[in-house]
Symmetry: C2
Subunit: 298 residues, 2 copies
């Protein structure tokens, strides 16, 4: 399984990289600095898990990976923007990510804030242009844009980030860590795979099942991140490990311990795969991806 | 004229306030702080010029103000987000706006950054939901969302803000001040009125003319802002005046002098009104608004 999913991930990742290259503006003109900063973090070596999930979602209901690329890439832009803003001195104050200096360390805080704003806004351009080219059913697209905006906004990622920050140094509260995980990471991961299914014309039952799948792997993914922050190898992670504990962050392992966290992770993966019961072999990459998530090392 | 346009502005502003109250979430739950911060700046006493322009654009081609309210309000959310981020210590570092403490002075930098992100994202939710409710032609709506995202993004407002900041203390260059004005303020103002015309089913010629109108009043509006920053009354402006000069900002008056700036302003208003030549009396509020812009005192 491991070899198969790694090949799948690599193939889909190449599609994403090519499409991102095509969609992104080249630095030019008076505002060239902000375009340079936008490209810097977007091409700083991400795993492209979210766009791959979007494509795998489409494929699971008979759609094609190519067809959903503009939305898949838009989601990656949103993810990149969130990394730039999360790393800012006022938020997590991180100097390194994926082994490279963070955006504000290279371009300064002002440009970093604006580069994040630019990526978030451009994500919506990618999606609307895709619709205006007439390549997708407009109602499905509007539904997907709405879903992604909700997953990214105060109802999702922004909300999770607020609670993550405001809970630093506070009591280790299970309700809080669950809120952070489902909102900060889970919401956009679930939206990624669900968007693929909606765009490929999946029925309401498929949309519902895939959303459950997305929420469950999102939880497993964030727990994996938390565990890697404790057990990981800092050269593979590209940043210092142990940062969460130092900051008094509320994480899954800090609230539940590593053993129970790994147990929850395994259960989430089981629930995710269960949610795909009514899907046929075209959902095999999604099943493999779920198992792969808890095995990653960086 | 002055009385008539003031009544018009007041009536439309009430529609906007009511709609914003309806659309905005109430602070609740663990992420209540960010919702509170989003509402704080959105309801800090803006003039609602952009949403009123959107409504007046729709009315100029026979549409109704009510019909375009979700998009008009979305534009105001985007404007509010831009104010929050512009005021941040890493950017303009302003403590007051409209006589009130700026967002980061009340909620802290982290929440202010995230509140801006939340408003920008929610703006897209307002627009997509409007489309999903089936109240507007979906292709027109996608075109409008694309237009607004371009006006807000690196191609528009974000680009203008980058150049505004990076040119502080540099040579007074006419090309630079024109770039800043057309991008930082002009783009979203032009998009506001153009969005109204597109949503109300205006033809391509009307869309083109109204876009020229919007660009011209956008320029006049920003020059008015620059002049008020020199000549204005700080209690009416709700912030300290003279800040631009102190920071070495490149503004219209600093490059061209006040006399020539006022001349350019008058010409812009003439061009704006000329662009409305083929429109009938339903465009009267737009003509009045153009004249009103250079008379405002705060």
């Amino acid at each position: 399984m491991s070899r198969r999913i790694e090949d799948y991930l690599e193939e889909r990742k190449i599609l994403v990289e090519r499409a991102l290259e095509k969609f992104m503006p080249r630095p030019s003109g008076l505002a060239g600095d902000v375009i340079r900063a936008m490209n810097y973090t977007l091409f700083a070596g991400g795993k492209r898990i979210r766009p791959v999930l979007c494509m795998a979602g489409a494929e699971a209901v008979g759609g094609s990976a190519d067809h959903v690329l503009p939305v898949a890439c838009a989601i990656e832009l949103i993810h990149s923007y969130s990394l730039i803003h999360d790393d800012l001195p006022a938020l997590d104050d991180d100097d390194f990510r994926r082994g490279k200096l963070t955006n504000h360390k290279v371009f300064g805080e002002a440009i970093a804030i604006l580069a994040g704003d630019g990526l978030l806004t451009l994500a919506f351009n990618l999606m609307t242009r895709y619709g205006l080219e007439g390549k997708v059913e407009k109602k499905a697209l509007l539904r997907v844009i709405d879903l992604i905006a909700s997953a990214a906004g105060y109802q999702g990622m922004v909300g999770g980030q607020v609670v993550d920050i405001s809970s630093e140094g506070k009591d280790q509260d299970p309700t809080v860590v669950e809120y952070i995980h489902t909102h900060k990471t889970g919401a956009l991961i679930a939206a990624s795979v669900t968007a693929g299914v909606i765009l490929a014309g999946g029925n309401e039952e498929e949309v519902k099942s895939i959303n459950t799948y997305g929420q469950q792997i999102g939880l497993a993914f964030q727990i994996a991140d938390d565990i890697l922050n404790i057990e990981g190898n800092s050269s593979m992670m590209g940043k210092e490990i142990g940062g969460d504990e130092e900051r008094g962050k509320i994480t899954y392992p800090s609230v539940f311990g590593i053993t129970q966290s790994k147990q929850v992770q395994r259960e989430s993966i089981d629930h995710a795969i269960e949610a795909l019961n009514s899907f046929d072999e075209r959902a095999e990459p999604l099943r493999d991806l779920a198992r792969y998530i808890i095995k990653r090392k960086a």
